[in-house]
């Protein structure tokens, strides 16, 4: 399977499904902050990369694919799991980007915090997209 952009898929997602993702992401950020305040920066830092959105995302993608096939009169369970697995494969690539993001923050944050975040975000994008392109090429 090849990972591709599909802007049309945005319209298939219901508003509350976006809400679930945003709420989970925001809630996890707050929880990571609380954990850092209670248990210190080492444990808090781990939870900055806690899988908060992937469980909801994978579950919704599987449900969408299953419903689409059922509405077409097909009983295909595999398709939904394949789509969710593809989402998880994309998350692996994004995780490499997140590793690079955190490494750049480590290196630059003491010099200039605002620039560190900009540089780290650009690095995340470059590493994630490069990993995606490399996967396609392989």
């Amino acid at each position: 399977m090849i990972v591709r952009f599909n802007l049309g898929a945005l319209s298939e997602v219901r508003w509350y499904e976006y809400l679930i993702r945003f709420v989970l992401g925001g809630a996890m950020t707050v929880v990571a902050g609380l954990i850092a305040a209670r248990f210190g920066p080492i444990i808090g830092g781990l939870f900055l990369a806690f899988p908060a959105i992937l469980p909801a995302s994978a579950t919704l993608i599987e449900k969408h694919q299953r419903e689409r096939k059922e509405s077409a009169g097909l009983m295909v369970m595999r398709r939904g799991k394949d789509a969710a697995a593809l989402d998880a494969a994309g998350a692996v690539l994004g995780s490499f980007g997140l590793v690079a993001f955190a490494l750049i923050v480590c290196l630059v944050i003491e010099w200039t915090p605002p620039l560190a975040l900009v540089l780290a975000t650009v690095t995340w994008l470059v590493v994630s997209v490069s990993a995606w392109m490399l996967r396609r090429w392989l």
Partner: protein, 57 residues
């Protein structure tokens, strides 16, 4: 220090995502179960690597 630790969390996230992918693709586990079961991998990697590299006490 938090960013150092985030590197380990991100590596654990890669392991978690790969495990979810494997459970869905190879074992055909429903995604709800796969994403919950794989949390063991995230906690194992994150806290295992942290225990090796940092003093958690």
């Amino acid at each position: 220090m938090e960013a150092h630790s985030m590197v380990l969390g991100a590596l654990a996230l890669a392991a978690y995502s790969w495990t979810v992918c494997l459970l869905l693709k190879k074992l055909m586990v429903p995604s709800v179960i796969a994403t919950i079961v794989a949390l063991v991998v995230w906690f194992g990697f994150a806290f295992g690597l942290s225990a090796m590299l940092f003093d958690l006490t």
